[in-house]
């Protein structure tokens, strides 16, 4: 039973110190320091136990978290009084320096003065323990109290019961009061022998309704018997049902996020395939090159202009686009142009290029993952109800939608886009109308590779940057292109989003791997009905 472990004073003390020290970082220095100092000054060189207890009581009542430092030192036997002037210090770990009891700053040398250690006994230790809990539970700052109650809830630290009761009695704020009641309920379930009290406590916890409550209830599963156990089970099933709705929402969110990633990765491939009829097996490697460009850019910025690190992603975007577009155009001019009219050979040649690119990156950068850090505006998450929405995924969704919108505009409203669409629909006719199809080919390949590059920039934020990055996205990109068809950019959009959502919705039932297999099988079956994908090219052209 972990309660027994927590009851050991040392563990409790260290946990409490951690909480308090954390809070100490957040609370700025204030004039209430004075109250602490006033209490400490009452300690004279030969203070007796009652005086020490009184001091502890005062410190506790002050509600000043700074007192924790000195209380802790007292418990450790490190609080000392200088004999000549009665000033109180903390002896630091090495025993050579004196530290200020309130701030912990260095305050002098220990060797010269005559110091008297403030002695304590076990009952005083207990009082210190209670005082420590009281300091956080009865702190002036609401957030501190909230956090203290939450910690007691999650750790189910039974030794905090007294402090919790005292704080509950004094609490006025309804939100904090509710948290404290839930924490108290946890402690009741963990320690009480009265079954009715336990059942009532389980009810309080279950009413909380979120994941923390569910995991707390599940912790007790094997530890209860009789009426309490059955009420526990019913509480757990009710909580699980409530969470189910949120879980589906969470999976849809993950599906949209995966769909946006697939969209970014696959749209370049769809454009290339639509215009030229070739599957570029090196497409994954373009994504990988984009990710590595981000890594190199970030590295360079870190070394030469560290202030710009936050902007490194935005700087990497055009760089990655240009670099991968250039590589794409080189591949097109060098290899693919000569294989015009032979799509299967082109597929093989681009596979060869992908092997070469992978090995080149492996030779230059090494086969291990490279670190690309998230800028601060992409870190963290927000919570809507029970949904955890991480910033990086949100930004990637926004980014891919933006890229898609820009591409839609480019395809439908620019002359180059018009030419690309014409060549997609009927290459020979477009050529007869005066469109330079070789030039359109090169530009398309460059555009497709460039988009893959900026997809790589985005992917570097959520995935490992390694030479194998491309391989993990290439099969999925193929599936999106095959499923969505190449007649229309919307085909890729619908294909990517639906594949992402279906994949993530299947996951809880079938597991990640089986879900993926099911999606693949579904696509194979779907192809039977629509061999050219969802948004196929309309027209009367016949394949040989």
């Amino acid at each position: 039973m972990f309660g027994r472990k927590l009851m050991s004073l040392r563990f409790f003390r260290h946990a409490a110190v951690l909480i308090v020290l954390l809070l100490l970082c957040l609370i700025p220095a204030s004039a209430d320091e004075a109250a602490v100092r006033a209490a400490l000054s009452k300690l004279s060189a030969d203070a007796g136990y009652p005086a020490i207890e009184a001091m502890i009581g005062e410190l506790a009542l002050s509600g000043e978290p700074k007192a924790a430092l000195s209380l802790n030192a007292l418990s450790d036997g490190k609080l000392v009084v200088r004999k000549d002037d009665g000033a109180v210090f903390i002896l630091d770990v090495s025993g050579a320096k004196l530290l200020d009891p309130v701030t912990g700053d260095e305050a002098g040398d220990a060797s010269g003065a005559a110091l008297e250690k403030v002695k304590i006994k076990n009952s005083i230790r207990r009082k210190i323990a209670a005082a420590m809990s009281g300091l956080t539970l009865m702190a002036k700052d609401k957030a501190v109290r909230l956090r203290a109650a939450e910690t007691i809830f999650t750790t189910a630290d039974v030794s905090q019961m007294e402090g919790l009761d005292a704080a509950l009695a004094a609490e006025a704020d309804p939100q904090v009061k509710r948290r404290m009641e839930q924490a108290r309920a946890m402690l009741t379930v963990a320690s009480s022998t009265d079954e009715a009290a336990r059942i009532a406590a389980i009810g309080v916890i279950a009413a909380r309704g979120d994941r923390a409550a569910l995991s707390a209830l599940m912790n007790f599963r094997s530890k209860l018997e009789g009426g309490a156990a059955s009420s526990l089970e019913s509480a757990i099933s009710v909580a699980e049902q409530n969470l189910r709705f949120w879980n589906i929402g969470q999976n849809v969110w993950y599906g949209i996020s995966l769909g946006s990633v697939l969209l970014l990765a696959a749209i370049g491939l769809a454009i290339t395939f639509g215009v030229m009829g070739v599957i570029n097996m090196a497409h994954g490697e373009m994504v990988m090159l984009g990710a590595y460009t981000t890594f190199v850019t970030q590295d360079l910025i870190r070394q030469s202009a560290p202030g710009l690190v936050e902007w490194s992603l935005l700087i990497a975007l055009p760089l990655a686009f240009l670099f991968t577009a250039l590589v794409g155009i080189v591949i097109e001019r060098g290899i693919i142009k000569h294989l015009y009219g032979r799509p299967l050979e082109t597929l093989l040649a681009t596979w060869g290029v992908s092997l070469i690119l992978q090995q080149a990156v492996r030779t230059i950068f090494g086969p291990t993952n490279q670190e690309v850090s998230n800028p601060s505006w992409m870190s963290g998450a927000i919570e809507i109800g029970q949904l955890a929405i991480t910033w990086n995924r949100l930004w990637i969704i926004v980014f891919s939608l933006t890229v898609f919108a820009v591409l839609l505009f480019a395809f439908n409203r620019t002359p180059m886009g018009l030419q690309m669409r014409a060549v997609t629909q009927n290459r020979r006719m477009a050529s007869a109308m005066g469109i330079r199809t070789p030039f359109v080919d090169s530009m398309t390949f460059g555009l497709g590779s460039g988009i893959a590059g900026i997809a790589g920039v985005a992917l570097s934020q959520i995935d490992n940057v390694s030479p194998n990055l491309g391989q993990s996205y290439i099969i999925d990109s193929f599936m999106v292109v095959v499923f969505g068809g190449v007649g229309n950019l919307w085909g890729t959009f619908v294909g990517a989003m639906s594949l992402g959502i279906v994949n993530k919705l299947l996951e809880p039932f079938a597991g990640a791997v089986l879900g993926k297999i099911l999606v693949l099988v579904l696509i194979i079956l779907f192809i039977q009905k629509r061999p050219r994908g969802l948004f196929a090219l309309k027209g009367r052209s016949v394949e040989a």
């Binding site: 395939f273 009829g277 070739v278 599957i279 290899i335 000569h338 294989l339 015009y340 009219g341 032979r342 799509p343 299967l344 050979e345 082109t346 597929l347 093989l348 040649a349 596979w351 060869g352 290029v353 992908s354 092997l355 070469i356 992978q358 090995q359 080149a360 492996r362 030779t363 009927n426 290459r427 020979r428 099969i475 193929f478 599936m479 292109v481 095959v482 791997v513 089986l514 993926k516 297999i517 693949l520 099988v521 696509i523 194979i524 079956l525 192809i527 039977q528 009905k529 061999p531 050219r532 052209s541 016949v542 394949e543 040989a544």
Partner: protein, 388 residues
């Protein structure tokens, strides 16, 4: 009589020479390995027997791909799946042969099942303790999968690049499935630690030599069957499908059925190749399903010369010998070489080694060829097709 005529149709000079060479090797190598003492320069060491035996199975695999790609126009990027399925069938037989000699000493269950706390043999493992059944499965499972897949795919006229991608998806899905530890096929460790085949120790010199001969004979048979198929009337239909499918359809034939037969026969051949591969290598694991492996098979065929029959055999032997050499001497550069090979062969050697040979030795070819094997795919047909 029909059968004899069918097979006789397959013999032309090149094929005969190739089959002769292979059968000679089938006899010579075991003799040089077993009967010639170790110190003698003519002695063939064990590792060479195993290595070249493996190459022969790869050659059979490449040949099977050539049947569908070179003669029927179906670029299957998932033929490794059929190879691996045949391999797994053989592997299951070998696992059952281990009996009580495994690490856990369980006569009924293979080690990995004991490790997973399974209590009894799953239904699909029953029967694999009989060699005949296992051999049937070696041919049936890949064949059945190819049949079902092909029936669906060819009927809906999925072709060209789409079909290639779908075959890749198929082998990828199988990769994911076989990697799962509770799928019942050994999970990510695969099946290994084989002891006996047909009562003989798998690692003994005699068994290895016998497996080598078996691979060589299988390859020879494969060449014979393929050549016969290709030179028969059915072969003409296959070439029609490759070069002008719509035209053939309008003439009243059913291209989907033609493709289906070729695909199934090819899958069975690949399965047999896999079954011969596994005892020589000693392990079968899900990595064989990797799409990359299947694409490598394509390059063997392309290097040798697709649409010829001896081409893929030569290509497989050459490329794999090169791979063994490269990965021993300059491992970092093997992938560069392989990638470069892909690019080089597609750009400059579209007809492969055999094509080069034919181009630069025209006198030889003219003298040899009253009966020539059907031509490899002309570029024209594909230009017309892709110009839409």
């Amino acid at each position: 009589m029909i059968l004899t005529r069918f097979f006789m149709g397959g013999f032309d000079r090149r094929i005969s020479v190739m089959i002769g060479l292979i059968l000679a090797a089938a006899v010579l190598v075991p003799v040089l390995h077993l009967l010639v003492p170790a110190g003698n320069p003519l002695h063939v060491p064990t590792y060479i027997v195993a290595l070249t035996g493996k190459y022969l199975t790869y050659a059979l695999l490449a040949l099977s791909l050539d049947l569908v790609w070179g003669y029927c126009g179906i670029l299957s990027l998932g033929h490794g799946a059929f190879f691996a399925l045949g391999g797994y069938a053989m592997g299951m037989y070998l696992m059952r042969q281990i009996g009580a000699r495994g690490s856990y000493g369980n006569a009924e269950l293979p080690d990995f099942m004991v490790f997973l706390n399974w209590k009894e043999l799953p239904w699909f493992w029953h029967g694999f303790d009989h060699f005949a059944f296992a051999m049937l499965m070696v041919m049936l499972v890949p064949g059945l999968l190819a049949f079902i897949f092909g029936w669906f795919a060819f009927r809906s006229r999925v072709s060209g690049v789409y079909l290639s991608i779908i075959t890749q998806a198929l082998t990828y899905a199988l990769l994911l499935a076989f990697f799962r530890n509770n799928f019942g096929f050994g999970g990510n460790n695969g099946l290994t630690d084989f002891k006996d085949i047909l009562g003989f120790n798998v690692q003994a010199g005699g068994t290895r030599a016998a497996l080598f001969s078996a691979s060589a004979i299988a390859l020879a048979l494969g060449i014979l069957v393929t050549s016969a198929l290709v030179n028969s009337k059915y072969g003409k239909l296959m070439i029609g499908v490759r070069d002008a499918e719509s035209r053939l359809r309008f003439l009243g034939y059913r291209p989907e059925n033609i493709k289906l037969v070729a695909f199934t026969v090819s899958a069975v051949m690949a399965g047999i190749a896999g079954a011969l591969y596994v005892p020589q290598v000693g392990i079968i694991n899900p990595g064989e399903f990797d799409p990359g492996n299947s694409i490598e098979v394509v390059i063997w065929t392309a290097v040798g010369g697709r649409g010829t029959i001896i081409g893929p055999v030569i290509g497989a032997l050459l490329v794999n010998a090169g791979k063994s050499w490269f990965t021993g001497v300059l491992p970092e550069f093997w992938l560069f070489a392989l990638g470069g090979l892909f690019v080089f062969v597609t750009l400059f050697m579209p007809k492969g080694v055999v094509g080069l040979w034919e181009k630069y030795l025209p006198r030889r070819a003219k003298r040899a060829g009253k009966k020539k094997s059907p031509e490899p795919a002309p570029d024209l047909a594909q230009t017309a097709g892709a110009a839409e």
